[in-house]
């Protein structure tokens, strides 16, 4: 992004205003991404709970089920389809994969309620603009978007325990993971207060990363060659889900197990046969 920084008026006195040069500088672009080591993840669910607490995602109603629930971070247990005792399974935390190219939810939204921040690469959802048509949910290949079928509900006491940095969403809008955008704002404000334009990586850590007891999630700037994530994604065992779609997701996974890497190209939804027979 080009920002107006200063007017270069060098030598303009002799040549007039026509020689006035507007100097622009390119603000450094970040591409925030994540990498999850599936061999370390044991499906404890700490990431999903920390995410819900951080982002004021309400608890379920009695009628809520796996299809109508709101889980920005949902951990799936994927079996290897072998029978006992050769069976194996892997826990896959699934959330918005922050697609970079032809982002499906952005292209289908009639309301411009989904935008990609050019400075961070984060796909953001703007609930105030959302019409609730759910095209984005249909378009998302990762099923990582959730619709508020009901008004959010907490007990009276729990309302006083909401995170003051994140607004709850109303009934009738779609929501999803935004890499804890509230924390990004806080980190930016802290950096600005310290007279810096660049945020300290330690100040911007999403809740799931912070809470993972197995240290299975790495977060950072993919554009920064020295960052831990930039190094980690170079591993030969690193892969992305449904990469064949060409949406260039910024969430990477890692596993030493070949069947897990192969599974990444399959759809995560169950077939009718799987629904019935497991």
């Amino acid at each position: 992004m080009h920002n107006l920084r200063s007017w270069n008026v060098e030598n303009n006195t002799s040549k007039g205003l026509e020689n006035l040069i507007m100097e622009t500088i390119s603000e450094k672009k970040s591409q925030y991404g994540m990498m999850i080591d599936l061999d370390r993840c044991n499906g404890c669910g700490a990431c999903a709970v920390a995410c819900a607490v951080e982002n004021n995602v309400p608890p379920a109603y009695q009628q809520t089920n796996t299809r109508t629930g709101i889980t920005w971070m949902r951990v799936f247990e994927i079996p290897n389809d072998e029978q006992f005792p050769q069976s194996d399974s892997v826990f896959v935390p699934m959330f918005c994969q922050q697609c970079e190219n032809e982002t499906p939810c952005v292209t289908v939204c009639p309301q411009n309620a989904v935008e990609i921040d050019p400075l961070t690469g984060i796909v953001g959802q703007i609930p105030q603009r959302c019409l609730g048509c759910r095209y984005c949910m249909a378009a998302c290949p990762y099923h990582a978007r959730y619709f508020n079928w009901r008004d959010p509900k907490w007990t009276d006491g729990m309302k006083l325990q909401l995170n003051p940095d994140v607004a709850p969403r109303m009934r009738g809008v779609v929501e999803k993971c935004n890499f804890c955008h509230g924390r990004l704002h806080t980190a930016r404000q802290k950096a600005a207060a310290n007279g810096s334009e660049k945020i300290d990586p330690n100040d911007y850590v999403p809740a799931c990363v912070e809470s993972c007891p197995n240290k299975a999630i790495i977060f950072g700037d993919l554009e920064d060659g020295s960052s831990e994530i930039s190094q980690a994604i170079k591993s030969k065992n690193t892969f992305r889900f449904l990469s064949r779609l060409g949406t260039e997701p910024k969430v990477y996974f890692n596993s030493g197990r070949a069947w897990v890497r192969e599974m990444a190209e399959q759809a995560l939804t169950r077939t009718k046969k799987e629904e019935i027979y497991g």
């Binding site: 370390r40 044991n42 499906g43 404890c44 669910g45 700490a46 999903a48 709970v49 920390a50 995410c51 819900a52 607490v53 004021n56 995602v57 608890p59 379920a60 109603y61 009695q62 809520t64 796996t66 629930g69 709101i70 889980t71 949902r74 951990v75 799936f76 079996p79 072998e82 029978q83 006992f84 005792p85 399974s89 826990f91 309301q111 603009r129 019409l131 609730g132 008004d151 007990t155 009276d156 729990m158 309302k159 006083l160 325990q161 909401l162 995170n163 003051p164 709850p168 969403r169 109303m170 009934r171 009738g172 912070e210 809470s211 007891p213 197995n214 240290k215 629904e275 027979y277 497991g278």
Partner: protein, 699 residues
């Protein structure tokens, strides 16, 4: 101009087409998102100063350090303390939402009295004084025993219970058999001088053989276990998991031995068989055992082929396991039931514990080490709940602290006289409290000062304090204050210290030893105890948020062991009927012990199963004509209930894994949707309910 019908139709048609060329429909579409907004129905966000407080989680005995982000002094977010020396800065999923428990929908706000004995009977509020008078009257006229059931002995409150009961002629201070320290407490009973507190030296071990212990599913101190296993590539640690189900721990183990359900006893004896036959038992260990011949007789009773048939494991694999145990530089063998399934029976525990003695892992680095040598603790006199005579208790107090493991009501009920009075001190209307006559609510987690001693599995002593993060409501009463009122009402004399006084005494004791160091939560620094100026200085630091941890004991105490292992009488019969195994997740075995936000893992995803769900192998499902998401009838000798079926290829054919977990959010005990699978389990004389013969059929 003559206006014809055609002109009117053209105008209408043209207007209709033109309308879509104007911005109006798109504006309508656009604005409808604004007109339909209902932001007023979303709660306003709390506003006020943001602060940080430090405390310790008390949802289980691990007592992990907690950093709380507060708004207006009210915690809105919890996170672990980075670099914490005991829990490694990790909080489990339940701990991350532990601050919601003060506002739990099942919280009992006032002291209550049940109008009649039934879990769904009506309750009416009662004043503390009236309740105390009625309870005191019951105690005075009681002919049967008066008992306190404490699931976490060793606390200051436990001392109060003990002192109170000690003054009564018919008092029983009871506790439940250990779960996470089952192997340690079994070894404790085998040791000639039982003044040693034992712990696992996982940090230095090379091999762990686990009989069903969910080591990687929040067992013990979750952060400690995750740190140890997170570094296993570097440390070379190997895990052999012996378990009938492919649990999370089995999935992440190096070797998983899928044994037949409830044959752990025989698997342990089979390993002992190899160790003895192949002269792999250490000579020094042999000299320590007073009744080795009894063990030898038990282990050699069956042939390898018989062991293979009983356990379902090829004997060559058992042989390999035994050889690995004997050859490993350091090794630990331990047991630990799934939190839903109850403990192993005594014979199984003894067989598993004795393997540690045979390989000489007691008192060695990387084995089972002495955490502390101390004088006889009064709490060791706590009676095992299962050892209490049936139908003997007339007045029963049930302490509020939950062990995090399932507890069937039937297990409590069998010890009660027909005419009994139960007083629950739980802050929640949970499965056990629902059977009480009185609920006198204790403070919820983070509402009162609680001491956090070392975890039972820990290899070093530690101490920290869970300071309250919330103001305590006036309608709850701490157990020590309740017992103060009861002793006054009964006319007894009992000096009851406050927790604050007891913490100060503990700080003085630590200061006087000058041992260990104190880790500060606020700045992450560590300071040796010797550098504190006074005991008050140390105490102040503990209240601000700090953890004291001792150095490893490193003492090598010569022990002698009496194993007292009986030879197996019967070989388990193979039946065609299904086997029901309850399965749960530590602390989350009840709706009341977890935040409603945990629905993200249970109800809103398929990561964990709510109560009323069974998982079976597709092969079993085909046999009983069941399909995924069917509603089925689950029947045992104890009763029947409707369950939802889930298929899972990792479950042994013939096994039904029944979830012992929370009900759906907003479910009350009186709701038809609430199901308690524990009530279907057969409870053995040992007080175990690990397997039950069951039937399942499609509705």
């Amino acid at each position: 101009m003559n206006i014809t019908r055609r002109n009117i139709l053209k105008l209408i048609g043209g207007s209709a087409v033109g309308f879509f060329l104007t911005p109006l429909p798109y504006k309508v579409l656009d604005d409808s998102s604004i007109w339909t907004q209902n932001w007023s129905l979303t709660p306003p966000l709390p506003q006020g100063p943001v602060s940080i407080k430090y405390s310790n989680c008390t949802l289980c005995a691990a007592g992990c350090g907690v950093k709380a982000k507060c708004v207006n002094g009210i915690p809105c977010q919890l996170i672990g303390i980075p670099r914490h020396p005991i829990d490694n800065g990790a909080l489990c999923a339940r701990g991350l939402a532990g601050h919601h428990l003060v506002n739990h929908p099942l919280r009992v706000a006032l002291p209550q009295k049940f109008l009649h004995k039934s879990p769904d009977s009506a309750m009416e509020p009662i004043s503390f004084q009236t309740a105390v008078n009625e309870i005191a009257s019951q105690i005075q006229k009681s002919n049967g025993a008066i008992a306190v059931f404490d699931q976490q002995p060793g606390r200051i409150t436990s001392e109060i219970y003990f002192e109170f009961l000690n003054q009564l002629s018919n008092g029983i201070y009871a506790t439940h058999p250990s779960r996470e320290d089952a192997t340690l407490s079994t070894l404790h009973e085998m040791i000639d001088k039982n003044n040693a507190k034992l712990g696992y030296d996982f940090e230095n071990t090379q091999l762990i053989v686990s009989f069903g212990a969910p080591l990687l599913d929040d067992w013990g101190i979750p952060g400690r276990m995750r740190k140890i296993f997170g570094k296993r590539k570097e440390s070379g640690l190997k895990l052999i998991q012996i378990e009938s189900c492919q649990s999370r721990t089995a999935l992440q183990s190096d070797v998983w031995l899928p044994i037949k359900p409830d044959t752990e006893y025989f698997a342990a004896l089979a390993i002992a068989n190899v160790l003895i036959k192949e002269n792999l038992v250490l000579l020094a260990a042999l000299r320590q055992i007073t009744d080795f011949e009894k063990l030898k007789h038990a282990a050699l009773q069956f042939t390898p082929a018989q062991y293979s048939e009983i356990t379902g494991i090829d004997f060559s694999i058992i042989r390999q396991t035994a050889n690995k145990l004997a050859q490993s530089k350091s090794a630990i063998v331990l047991s630990g039931p799934n939190p839903g399934a109850g403990p192993f029976n005594n014979e199984t525990e003894k067989a598993i514990a004795s393997l540690n003695i045979l390989i000489g892992s007691i008192g060695t680095d990387g084995g089972i080490v002495i955490r502390d040598l101390q004088k006889e603790n009064k709490n060791h006199i706590a009676r095992n709940w299962n050892a209490i005579q049936d139908h003997s208790i007339e007045v029963l107090f049930i302490d509020s602290v939950d062990s995090g493991y399932a507890l069937p009501w039937n297990l409590i009920e069998r010890k009660l006289q027909p005419q009994h009075t139960i007083i629950s001190l739980s802050p929640y209307l949970n499965e056990i409290a629902a059977h009480a006559d009185y609920i006198l609510p204790s403070p919820a987690p983070y509402e009162s000062l609680v001491e956090v001693p070392a975890h039972v599995t820990s290899n070093v002593n530690s101490f920290s304090v869970a300071v309250p993060l919330f103001a305590k409501p006036e309608t709850v009463i701490e157990p020590e204050n309740l017992f103060k009122l009861i002793t006054q009402s009964v006319g007894m004399q009992l000096e009851i210290p406050t927790t604050e006084e007891a913490v100060k005494q503990k700080a003085e004791k630590i200061f006087s030893t000058k041992r260990g160091s104190v880790f500060s939560y606020s700045d992450g620094t560590t300071k040796p105890v010797s550098e504190f100026l006074s005991a008050d200085d140390l105490c102040k630091k503990l209240f601000e948020g700090a953890a004291w941890s001792d150095k490893p004991n490193n003492s090598h105490h010569p022990f002698r062991f009496t194993l007292n292992i009986a030879a197996p009488k019967n070989v388990p019969k193979t039946t065609n009927s299904l086997v029901l195994i309850p399965q749960g997740w530590k602390v989350a075995v009840s709706s009341s012990s977890i935040s409603p936000i945990l629905s993200k893992l249970f109800q809103e995803s398929e990561l964990r199963e709510n109560a009323g769900t069974i998982s079976i192998n597709p092969e079993t499902a085909t046999r009983y004509r069941l399909r995924s998401n069917d509603t089925a009838l689950l029947e045992t000798e104890e009763g029947k209930m409707n369950v939802r079926v889930k298929l899972n290829t990792s479950i042994q054919p013939g096994v039904i894994l029944a979830s012992v977990g929370p009900a759906l959010n907003e479910t009350n005990f009186s709701d038809a949707t609430y199901n308690d699978v524990l009530s279907l389990c057969t409870i053995s004389d040992h007080g175990t309910w690990r397997i039950t013969q069951a039937k399942v059929s499609k509705i």
